[in-house]
């Protein structure tokens, strides 16, 4: 937690409120910033209540409820972004970004490059990913890696209130399209956030727990499970370093590699499917750039390659938990 400017007062707020504060502050600071999305306005205030009170504060013109038209939401946001506005689009569930994939992958991501840098696309797409609430295959996926695979997009994956607010402010002030991944289970979690204005640069990982024996690189809700695992193993005298990349694009390779150099052991934990997922990319990067520092094979904790099932025991089985993390750690330590 080193990146905020100065050492002003902290207070404890939820991840949800931290995101709302970032939206509120940036909308006040810059009147080209506006929000659009389904049920984000005064009638519902967002499926996860992130935009609570914002329509009252800024009016329906700047907090725009849209029809259920994901492709048009993102397309409209792209059009506004290349002509002087700073849209922040909410897609109600991360799974539904698939409906807007052309606008995200072919339009938003490519316009700056393809048109020879004539235009910028300052667009933030906020969306919640992740499972754990028994809402099955269409509302529980973690698709962060899809977006990592598209040059031109940035991908943020905040795990705490502090990171969420600081990263979102940077995202809004930036000049590039960014997929701002939130996690449903993180919204009610609380953490310290400075009262004063601060931002967190993209591409700077945060060491959430220091340790000497093994590095876990974890993202989003898995950061908290990794921290729990680290606490449990501490009782056995094992020092687990938990590195949270905070953004996947850009990825802070240096912090990850430095940690691996120190510990010699690496576990990567993310909630998405294992094949071609977040963990795969990080594993490949370390294998390419730091294999000589490893004293044991890299291990990954990820979802098996299945859709997310509905029934609680099935869902619990596929979403990795602390037990899986600890078991995986024991395989290489």
């Amino acid at each position: 937690m080193s990146m905020h400017n100065g050492d002003g007062k902290m207070r404890v707020i939820t991840y949800r409120d931290a995101i709302r504060e970032a939206l509120l502050e940036e909308m006040k600071r810059d009147n080209t910033v506006f929000l659009l999305g389904e049920d984000i306005g005064r009638c519902w205030e967002g499926a996860f209540k992130v935009t609570k009170g914002l329509a009252e504060e800024f009016g329906d013109e700047r907090v725009r409820d849209t029809p259920i038209s994901e492709s048009a939401i993102i397309g409209t946001a792209v059009g506004a972004a290349i002509t002087g506005m700073k849209p922040i689009a909410e897609i109600m569930f991360g799974d539904l970004t698939t409906l807007a994939m052309d606008q995200i992958a072919n339009q938003a991501a490519k316009i700056h490059y393809m048109f020879g840098a004539q235009a910028k696309v300052p667009l933030v797409i906020r969306t919640p990913f992740g499972g754990g609430v028994n809402i099955a295959a269409h509302h529980s996926q973690s698709l962060e890696a899809w977006f990592m695979h598209i040059p031109g997009l940035l991908v943020a994956v905040p795990s705490t209130a502090y990171d969420a607010k600081g990263l979102l402010k940077t995202a809004i002030q930036g000049s590039n399209p960014i997929i701002f991944c939130e996690h449903k289970l993180l919204y009610p979690t609380e953490g310290p956030v400075p009262e004063e204005d601060y931002t967190i640069p993209l591409g700077i990982a945060d060491i959430k727990n220091e340790g000497e024996d093994l590095t876990i690189v974890a993202t989003m809700f898995m950061v908290h499970k990794a921290l729990n695992a680290a606490r449990m193993l501490k009782k056995e005298g094992l020092g687990i370093e938990v590195v949270d990349p905070r953004t996947l694009v850009p990825l802070d390779k240096k912090t990850i590699i430095d940690s691996v150099k120190k510990t010699g052991r690496l576990v990567i934990a993310a909630e998405d499917c294992k094949t071609a997922g977040v963990t795969a990319e990080i594993a490949a990067m370390v294998a390419e750039e730091a294999i000589d520092y490893l004293d044991a094979p890299i291990r990954r904790v990820a979802e098996p390659d299945t859709p997310i099932p509905f029934s609680p025991p099935l869902e619990k089985y596929v979403i990795p938990d602390e037990r899986r993390i600890i078991k995986t750690i024991r395989e290489i330590i």
Partner: protein, 317 residues
């Protein structure tokens, strides 16, 4: 419509209503995982449409799909078991409330992605045409879904290929907290049919007989090779959108007005007025329906959860 059919229609609607009330009750007891979208108030649509369908006809459903399943002839016990996430459910616990399917009765599944079912229904219609059968597809979706690109693409394609699909828009005036007038300048979604060159009609979705008769025409039209139609059924959900929604965005007077137009009370009144059923007959139907729903619920409650490792099965066929 003949007497026996109307009584059957009534029974179906009551089955859906009492089933949904049971789901709500079990939900209160914390044994329904996840979220639920109840069909209470909209029963006349599923029942009225599906009473015209054969077992080998198809339907495509939505997140608010329990009523569609029941109307198409799915078993109540396996439907309830799926909603509770049990191994004995239609989808072995993998789908849940938002994703029930019973292919054995032509119920091709509920999708929780709003509007996604529309082109799938078109595809089932294409398959019917290619296979040369005289089946029909009924595709259910909401007013909110009518603003998805899939609505335009799916209906237009069904129109130009003259496919046997009846598109049923269940216009309950709201998509979550968004009322229709916020997101559409037209009142009657059926008007959009004109743009695709197909018949479109708006009907009182709380009048089961009106829905039945309107669907009957459209289904015959489709079955005889004359292509798709769009039927808009005006209705109202009695409860909130989902689980925790208190639905405070709806004016009180509007809610009261619509509660008075309860489709089941409506049909019950007509049955009594016409002398098709006496109070005793009504009471007997209620007892019978209650009984099967209690049994279905008990079956679901007593059923085991799937073993966790089953999560890994059936990813590929």
């Amino acid at each position: 419509m003949e007497k026996g059919k109307i009584i059957e229609l009534y029974r179906k609607m009551l089955e859906i209503r009492l089933f949904e009330e049971k789901v709500f009750e079990l939900y209160g007891q914390n044994i329904v995982p996840g979220t639920i979208h109840l069909y209470i108030g909209e029963e006349a649509i599923a029942a009225g449409v599906c009473s015209n369908l054969r077992k080998d006809d198809y339907i495509v459903s939505t997140h608010r799909g329990h009523g569609h399943c029941i109307a198409k002839g799915a078993r109540l016990d396996m439907t309830m078991a799926e909603i509770l996430g049990k191994k004995t459910g239609y989808c072995r616990g993998k789908g849940g409330s938002m994703h029930i399917a019973d292919f054995s009765v032509g119920m091709l599944g509920a999708t929780a992605v709003v509007g996604a079912g529309i082109p799938i229904a078109t595809g089932a219609g294409l398959s019917i045409k290619l296979r040369g059968t005289d089946q029909v597809v009924a595709c259910f979706f909401g007013d909110g879904a009518a603003n998805q690109g899939t609505f335009h693409e799916g209906i237009n394609l069904a129109a130009v290929w003259k496919l046997p699909v009846v598109f049923i828009c269940e216009n309950n005036l709201y998509a979550m907290g968004t009322c229709q007038s916020q997101v559409m300048l037209i009142k009657d979604i059926a008007e959009r049919a004109t743009a695709y060159g197909i018949p479109g009609v708006s009907v009182n979705g709380n009048d089961a007989i009106a829905v039945y008769e309107t669907a009957e025409k459209a289904i015959k039209h489709a079955r005889h090779g004359n292509g798709p139609s769009l039927i808009e059924c005006k209705t109202y959900r009695h409860k909130g959108h989902s689980r925790f929604d208190p639905a405070t965005y709806r004016p009180k007077e509007e809610v009261e007005e619509w509660l008075k137009k309860d489709p089941i009370q409506n049909l019950k009144r007509q049955l009594l007025e016409k002398g098709y059923l006496l109070n005793a007959g009504m009471a007997q139907i209620e007892r019978e329906v209650n009984d099967i729903i209690e049994k279905a619920a008990q079956f679901a409650i007593d059923s085991p959860y799937p073993p966790p490792e089953e999560a890994l099965e059936n990813v590929y066929a």
